[in-house]
C-alpha cells in the first residue's frame, strides 16, 4: 500500500514537472510579450499597499504582460534611479507609484525620449501634461471633500474637529488636510487639533487623542486620515469612557476603507469611511491595451471612489470587496 502510494506521488511529481517544462517552452516561443516596468513604493507598508501590489501583479499576469516590479523602500532617490534603470532595460511601459510627487521630470523626459509611455499611478506626480501618457490616480482632495460634505449634512450644533493627519508632505495627507481645513474655514467649524502622525501610526494617534482627553480638550469629530489612526483614536476614547460612532457623542471619519474598517462602519464604530481604491491593476491593463490598439485615451481621469456611511452600509457591500 505504502509503495503504491509513493509510486503515485512520484508519478504526480513527474507529471507536474513535465507540465511545467511544457509551459515554459510555450512562453519561450512567444517572442513579442509586453514588458511593463513598475516602480512601487514598499512591498507591504500597509494593507492598502499590499492590496495594491497584488492587484497589479495579478492583473498583469492575467493580461500576459511581463512585470518588472521594483521597490523604493521609502527612498525617493532610489525610486528615481530604479525608474531610470528600467528605461535603460527598454521596458515597453513604465508605471510609477511615486513616494513623493516632486522630482520626476528627468525620468519622464528620459522615458519620452526612449519612446516609453509613462503612466503614473497612486499619487499624482508634479509633471507637465506633455511628459506623461496617462494616470491612474486617487484625488485625495476630492476624498476629503466627500467627508466634509457628509459632515455638513450632519447638522451638528457645534463642530469641534480633531484632525489626525498622515505622514507630513505625502500627497494623501496634503489633499485630505487641505479639504478639511478649507471646509472648516468655509463653514465656521473649529479645528481644535491638527497635527500629522509620523508613519500614519495607530499608536501615535491613540496617544495624541489620550493626551487631548486628559488635558480637557473638547471635541466631537475625529477626522483621521487613514483607518488605523481612526482605530487608535477609538481605542483612546474607549479607555476614557467617551462614546463614539453611530450612537455616540463623537463622529469618527476614516479614510482608505480597508475591509476590517468597513466591518467597524457596519458595527457603528466608525461613522464614515471614504474609499481610496488600491485596485489599480485592471485599470492599468486597460490603458495599456488601449494604447497598444492605438486608441486615444483621456489623460486626466481620477479613480472612482465611494464613501461608506454607517447608516447605509450593508453586509453585501463588505463581502463584495476583495481587500
Amino acid at each position: 500500500m505504502k509503495k503504491l502510494f509513493s509510486a503515485v506521488l512520484v508519478l504526480m511529481l513527474v507529471l507536474s514537472l513535465a507540465a511545467c517544462g511544457k509551459k515554459s517552452e510555450t512562453t519561450g516561443k512567444e517572442d513579442k510579450k509586453i514588458t511593463v516596468g513598475v516602480v512601487q513604493t514598499n512591498a507591504n507598508e500597509s494593507d492598502w499597499r499590499t492590496a495594491n501590489t497584488n492587484s497589479i501583479n495579478k492583473a498583469f499576469e492575467e493580461a500576459g504582460f511581463e512585470t518588472k516590479m521594483v521597490f523604493g523602500e521609502g527612498d525617493h532617490a532610489k525610486q528615481i534611479s530604479q525608474a531610470q534603470q528600467l528605461i535603460q532595460e527598454e521596458v515597453d511601459y513604465l508605471v510609477v507609484l511615486g513616494l513623493q510627487s516632486a522630482g520626476w521630470e528627468d525620468v519622464a523626459k528620459a522615458a519620452k525620449e526612449a519612446g516609453i509611455p509613462f503612466i503614473m499611478a497612486d499619487r499624482k506626480l508634479d509633471l507637465p501634461e506633455d511628459l506623461y501618457t496617462a494616470m491612474v490616480c486617487s484625488d485625495f482632495e476630492a476624498e476629503g471633500k466627500k467627508a466634509v460634505d457628509w459632515l455638513k449634512k450632519q447638522n451638528l450644533p457645534s463642530y469641534k474637529i480633531v484632525v489626525l493627519g498622515g505622514d507630513t508632505g505625502s500627497s494623501a495627507q496634503l489633499g485630505r488636510s487641505k479639504a478639511i481645513e478649507e471646509g472648516a474655514a468655509a463653514n465656521g467649524w473649529e479645528i481644535v487639533f491638527n497635527q500629522n502622525m509620523k508613519g500614519w501610526d495607530e499608536n501615535l494617534a491613540k496617544q495624541a487623542v489620550a493626551d487631548l482627553i486628559a488635558s480637557g480638550t473638547e471635541f466631537n469629530v475625529i477626522y483621521a486620515e487613514n483607518d488605523n489612526m481612526a482605530r487608535g483614536a477609538c481605542d483612546a476614547m474607549s479607555a476614557a469612557g467617551i462614546t463614539y460612532g453611530k450612537n455616540g457623542d463623537v463622529k469618527v471619519i476614516a479614510f482608505d476603507a480597508n475591509k476590517w474598517a468597513l466591518e467597524k462602519v457596519l458595527a457603528g464604530e466608525f461613522n464614515l469611511d471614504v474609499e481610496c481604491n488600491p485596485l489599480h491593476g485592471p485599470r492599468i491593463v486597460k490603458l495599456i491595451k488601449q494604447l497598444e490598439a492605438g486608441e486615444k485615451i483621456e489623460k486626466n481621469v481620477y479613480v472612482e471612489e465611494e464613501v461608506f456611511d454607517c447608516d447605509t452600509i450593508t453586509r453585501e457591500m463588505i463581502d463584495a470587496r476583495s481587500y
Binding site: T168, N203, A214, S215, N228, A240, T243
Partner: protein
C-alpha cells in the same frame, strides 16, 4: 538682622550646593521647568482623575498618567542604550527596527496565520519570552559585530537598522493581524485595576536594574571598559565580553519594549512602528548627562531624560502646535538642554555657585 540673614543664607547655600552640583540637577530642573510651562498654559495639567472606560472599569485619566504611560518604551530603551553607550562608546541605532522584529514575532506567535483571530494561538507569556529572545538574538548579533569584529557600533547596528523592518514584516508572514482584546491588558489596563500596566512594567524594570547595579559589578565594569579597554583587560575584565553583554541587555530591553508596543494597539505595522525612537533613546541618554563618547553611566539621568522627552512630546500635542513647527520647537528645546550641560556652560555656572573648585570629571560619575 542683616548678619542673621547672611548666616541663614550661608547655611542655605551649604545645603543647596550639593543639590546644584548633583549630576541629576540639570535634567530634573528641566523636567520641572517643562511641567511648569505646561501648568502655566493649561492649569489642569497636573490633575489626575478617576474615570471609567467604556466598559465601566475604573481608569486613571490625566496628563501625568499619559506621560508616565507613554514613555515606558523610551525609558526601557534608554536604560539599555546607557549600557551600550557607556561601554562600547557608540550607540545602537537599530532599536526601532528591532522592535519591529520583536513585534512581528509576538504577533505571529499570538495570531498564527490569521488576520482576525478569535482567540490567542499561544499563551501571552510564550509570546513575551519569544519576543525577548528575538530581541536578545538581534542584540547578540550586534554585540558580536561590535565586540569580536571591532566594527563601530553605529556601522554594526546599521545592518539591522536597514533590514529590521523588512524582517519584522517577514516574521509576520506579510500579514497585518489584530489580536483579541485580552492581549491589550499589557499595554493598557487590566480590567478593574486603574493604573496603566506599562507604568507598572516600567517600575519593575527600574527596580530590577537598581538591584542589578547594587548587587553586581556590572556598572563598574561597564564604565571601566568604556574608559579604557586595555587597562580593564590588564585588570582582569574582558572588554569584549562586557560589550557583548551590554548589547544583549539592550536586546532584552528592546524585547520588553516591543512586547508593550505590540500590546498597545494589538497590532503591529513593522514599517511604521515607533518611528524615530532610536534617536529619542540616544537623546535621552545625552540629556541624562551621559557622555556619548562612553565611559559614564548615569542611569537615573537617562530615565529622567526619557521622561523629559515624553513630556515635551505630550506638550506639543496638548498645545496643538502646528505640525510644521514641531521639529523646530523640539530642536530649540533640545539645543538648550544639551548646551547647558556642556563643560563651557557648566564652568560659567560653577563659577557663580562655587568659587573656582575644579569640576568633577565625567568619567567619575556613578549610577
Amino acid at each position: 538682622m542683616t548678619k542673621k540673614n547672611e548666616k541663614a543664607g550661608n547655611d542655605l547655600m551649604k545645603h543647596i550646593k550639593p543639590v546644584i552640583r548633583h549630576r541629576l540637577f540639570i535634567p530634573i530642573v528641566f523636567l520641572i521647568f517643562l511641567l511648569l510651562i505646561n501648568i502655566f498654559i493649561k492649569p489642569g495639567f497636573l490633575k489626575i482623575g478617576l474615570g471609567k472606560d467604556i466598559n465601566g472599569n475604573p481608569v486613571l485619566i490625566g496628563n501625568i498618567i499619559n506621560i508616565l504611560n507613554n514613555s515606558t518604551e523610551l525609558v526601557i530603551l534608554a536604560i539599555g542604550m546607557s549600557f551600550v553607550t557607556a561601554c562600547s562608546r557608540g550607540q545602537d541605532i537599530s532599536v526601532g527596527s528591532t522592535i519591529a522584529i520583536v513585534g512581528g514575532v509576538v504577533m505571529r506567535v499570538l495570531c498564527g496565520n490569521e488576520t482576525q483571530p478569535t482567540e490567542l494561538k499561544a499563551p501571552v507569556i510564550v509570546a513575551f519570552i519569544l519576543g525577548c529572545l528575538a530581541g536578545m538574538l538581534c542584540g547578540a548579533f550586534n554585540g558580536i559585530l561590535v565586540s569580536r569584529f571591532n566594527i563601530q557600533p553605529m556601522v554594526a547596528t546599521l545592518i539591522l537598522f536597514t533590514a529590521g523592518r523588512s524582517l519584522g514584516s517577514m516574521a509576520m508572514g506579510g500579514l497585518k493581524p489584530k489580536a483579541v482584546a485580552s492581549f491589550s491588558y499589557y499595554g493598557n489596563f487590566f480590567p478593574g485595576f486603574p493604573i496603566p500596566t506599562p507604568i507598572l512594567i516600567t517600575a519593575a524594570v527600574i527596580i530590577i536594574t537598581c538591584i542589578a547595579m547594587k548587587k553586581t559589578n556590572l556598572g563598574l565594569y561597564t564604565r571601566a571598559v568604556g574608559i579604557n579597554d586595555k587597562s580593564s583587560r590588564l585588570n582582569g575584565i574582558e572588554p569584549s565580553r562586557i560589550k557583548f553583554m551590554s548589547y544583549v541587555i539592550m536586546g532584552l530591553c528592546v524585547g520588553i519594549a516591543g512586547f508593550i508596543q505590540a500590546s498597545r494597539v494589538q497590532t503591529v505595522n513593522p514599517y511604521t512602528i515607533v518611528p524615530g525612537i532610536e534617536m529619542d533613546a540616544i537623546l535621552a541618554v545625552a540629556l541624562g548627562g551621559n557622555s556619548l563618547g562612553g565611559g559614564s553611566l548615569n542611569l537615573p539621568g537617562s530615565i529622567v531624560g526619557a521622561y523629559t522627552i515624553q513630556t515635551l512630546t505630550s506638550m506639543l500635542t496638548t498645545l496643538n502646535v502646528n505640525t510644521n513647527a514641531i521639529p523646530v520647537f523640539k530642536a530649540v528645546i533640545i539645543i538648550v538642554l544639551v548646551a547647558i550641560q556642556t563643560p563651557a556652560v557648566k564652568r560659567l555656572f560653577g563659577r557663580k555657585t562655587q568659587a573656582a573648585k575644579p569640576a568633577l570629571g565625567g568619567g567619575k560619575e556613578s549610577a
